[in-house]
């Protein structure tokens, strides 16, 4: 470990990893996300004790355990409410909510929309593999209509896949981006930008599930740089209309005031108690 000019320890990305070994399938895209997250925190020199990683349930939601930052592996679909509460009560922390597409867009879908419009200063990383992997391969909200590999949907899902970036843009998220887990250095850059963004930053990470969606190994050939950052919603919607689902980059970046209640006038417990008459 080195020191910077102020005498503080300079941490490498390995300092952000815990002693626990990931139990993900060998070859899982989530390894790349873990790697990139550690690199981003190291590059920004955010000490582990000043960061908190909050997750729901699912394969990717195990990520807090594999880092040395504070972590909370909570309730299915509820990463964002927990992260919101933490970010509001501890604005000194760097708060990063993480999870998968099932956790974030199905059971947590409602929270996602409101987090976008509320704009609390936190980062939300969704590792999207378009499948429920932990429960052995069912269709998720982002699964393609014609995916027939699951016994639960042998004739396809009969439902349109949800487009997370479109929802994020429509509901007011001020920072919206997409990245690919197989490019951990580029992903680290985008995570760092998301963390530094003052407000709710949503990053969809295409993260192949090699076990239940082995065809996603072909993402390498399909992913391409495509988005140019804009602060114009009309331009961003136009970019999404032309998107093939594999464009990467920052789609939209338009800072606006964060939701941050002013607690300066908060009353003490004693003052509140004085308003009440205690009747014996």
């Amino acid at each position: 470990m080195n020191e910077n000019s102020s005498g503080l320890a300079i941490l490498g990305h390995k300092d952000y990893r815990s002693e626990y070994k990931p139990v993900w399938c060998a070859g899982c895209g989530d390894f790349g996300v873990l790697n990139a997250l550690a690199k981003a925190l190291a590059a920004l020199e955010i000490p582990p004790h000043e960061a908190a990683i909050i997750a729901g349930i699912g394969c990717s939601s195990r990520i807090p355990a594999y880092t040395s930052a504070y972590g909370f592996h909570g309730v299915h679909g509820r990463a964002l409410p927990v992260a919101t509460g933490l970010a509001l009560s501890r604005p000194d922390l760097t708060v990063i909510a993480t999870g998968g597409d099932g956790d974030g867009f199905s059971i947590g879908g409602n929270h996602f929309m409101h987090a976008c419009r509320r704009n609390v200063d936190l980062t939300y990383l969704v590792m999207d593999n378009a499948v429920y992997g932990m429960t052995k391969g069912q269709a998720s909200p982002t699964t393609e209509t014609d995916w027939t590999a699951s016994k639960l949907s042998p004739q396809g899902t009969h439902q349109m896949p949800l487009h997370p970036l479109e929802i994020a843009l429509a509901t007011g998220a001020p920072f919206i981006a997409r990245a690919f887990s197989n490019s951990p250095n580029e992903l680290a850059r985008m995570i760092a930008e998301a963390i530094e963004f003052p407000g709710f930053a949503f990053l969809q990470v295409l993260s192949p599930c090699i076990t239940y969606r082995p065809e996603q190994l072909g993402y390498k050939k399909r992913v391409h740089a495509g988005f140019e950052p804009t602060a114009d919603r009309t331009e961003a919607f136009a970019a999404l209309a032309a998107d093939d689902g594999f464009s990467t980059g920052i789609l939209y970046r338009a800072p606006r005031p964060c939701f941050a209640p002013d607690h300066s006038g908060a009353r003490t417990l004693e003052a509140i108690a004085a308003d009440f008459e205690v009747v014996p």
């Binding site: 990305h13 390995k14 070994k21 990931p22 139990v23 993900w24 399938c25 060998a26 070859g27 899982c28 895209g29 390894f31 790349g32 790697n35 990139a36 690199k39 981003a40 590059a43 429960t135 052995k136 391969g137 069912q138 590999a149 699951s150 016994k151 639960l152 197989n182 490019s183 951990p184 250095n185 580029e186 680290a188 850059r189 760092a192 192949p208 090699i210 076990t211 239940y212 190994l217 390498k220």
Partner: protein
């Protein structure tokens, strides 16, 4: 700044190339450990050890040639592809992979590093960078040759190597 244009930048690339290779081998070994694939885990640990040894050698050379290294962010490195070229490709890993698969993955990683150094040896901006790159390239060629020899003594894949009586890929 590109590694072929600046000596300190080149040496920073050389150190990180080996460091990231070691990290990836550690990750692969951990993944094999989780899946109780002990034989391949041991091989990846061995590879990680070699990479760390080479990283330490690169650090020594960096001290001798450049005095210090620039502090670059991960995305400021200039690699031919999305990762440093000696990082074994994670998506090639499989819980049932054999020693042969692991060696093939390692060989691809060594050849990636060799191509990286050879390109700089051929096109580097100054004589010292070209000479160092040629030296590193020759070392990577030796590593690749060692793995090829190892592969030559490794049994071919047995029939049914990928059979699992309790497969996780039974989609429900």
């Amino acid at each position: 700044m590109k590694p072929g244009e600046d000596l300190a930048c080149f040496l920073a690339h050389a150190v990180v190339l080996e460091d990231e290779a070691a990290s990836r081998y550690d990750e692969l070994a951990d993944a094999m450990s989780v899946h109780r694939n002990r034989e391949v885990e041991v091989l990846f640990r061995q590879m990680a050890g070699y990479s760390r040894m080479h990283r330490d050698e690169a650090i020594e050379r960096a001290r001798a040639h450049a005095g210090g290294l620039p502090k670059l962010k991960p995305w400021e490195f200039s690699w031919p592809a999305s990762e440093s070229p000696e990082s074994g490709e994670m998506s090639r890993a499989h819980y049932l992979m054999t020693t042969r698969h692991a060696l093939e993955l390692a060989l691809a990683a060594e050849l990636g590093a060799l191509a990286f150094y050879q390109h700089i040896a051929d096109h580097g901006a100054d004589r010292i960078i070209r000479a160092l790159a040629a030296e590193f390239s020759a070392e990577e060629a030796e590593h690749a040759e060692a793995i090829r020899r190892w592969l030559a003594t490794t049994p071919e894949l047995p029939e049914g190597w990928d059979q699992d009586l309790d497969p996780p890929v039974e989609i429900e």
